[in-house]
Amino acid sequence: MPTHLTPAEMKDFVRRHFEDFVNNRRADVIFQNMSPDFLDHDGPGGQPTDAKGDEAMMLGMYKAMPDLHLTIREMIAENDRVICRNIWRWTDPSSGKKMQMHGFVLWRFEGAKIAERWATVTPPAEDHLTW
């Protein structure tokens, strides 16, 4: 099923999803924002998973990275797809070090929901920049 959303609407959708799912710690929004047969090709451990698997991953990240914050640096959209370039920042609880990793995410929309996700991230590294 194609999407009826415009590229601008898809970008807004992804922006809201990240804000709620990561920054507002509302893991449950994944069930509203993804299609029932949502497939994440690059879930935890690089394995495919569904919305439930991604919810479990985020709940684990909230615990392990209490101040986790995602910033979208760039977003582009065309047809039924959106690609984001993101920065994830957090404080490592055991060492107190500021950490960061960078990610690219590709989303495919169906109707008004996200149907598929692909992602790649850099290894976590110490963040020497000012937050």
Binding site: E78, N79, M101, H102, F104
Partner: protein, 116 residues
């Protein structure tokens, strides 16, 4: 970029053509597809500019993988690709999604490489 054919292409088409050319080790790819002032970042930079949001890599990592970092200008990109082609051969590549939006384009896909 040169040539009337390329001037009519979308950003996504250009990215696809560039990747095809690089996979074939086409030495003309850099001159054909890149601006003379190209800034080509591989993985990250040792001293990132906060405004760019480019990932940081440690100096140790760059020492191990000297091709990581920023390559500025066509000559530097050619040197990077020549080094890459001396060490790696593209055996296969697969599903690529190219998204283009105004002056930006991004590609998602994979390469299977063989060390030479």
């Amino acid at each position: 970029m040169s040539g009337p054919k390329q001037a009519r292409c979308s950003g996504g088409d250009l990215i696809s053509q560039y990747l095809e050319a690089v996979s074939r080790k086409d030495e003309t790819a850099v001159d054909r597809f890149f601006d003379p002032d190209i800034e080509y970042t591989v993985n990250g930079v040792v001293f990132p500019d906060p405004a760019s949001g480019v990932p940081s890599i440690s100096p140790d990592l760059q020492q191990v993988f000297p091709w990581f970092g920023v390559h500025r200008g066509r000559a530097a990109v050619k040197a990077f690709l020549a080094r890459l082609h001396q060490n790696l051969e593209v055996m296969a590549y697969g599903p690529r999604t190219v998204v283009s939006d105004g002056e930006k384009a991004a590609v998602f896909g994979w390469f299977r490489l063989r060390a030479l």
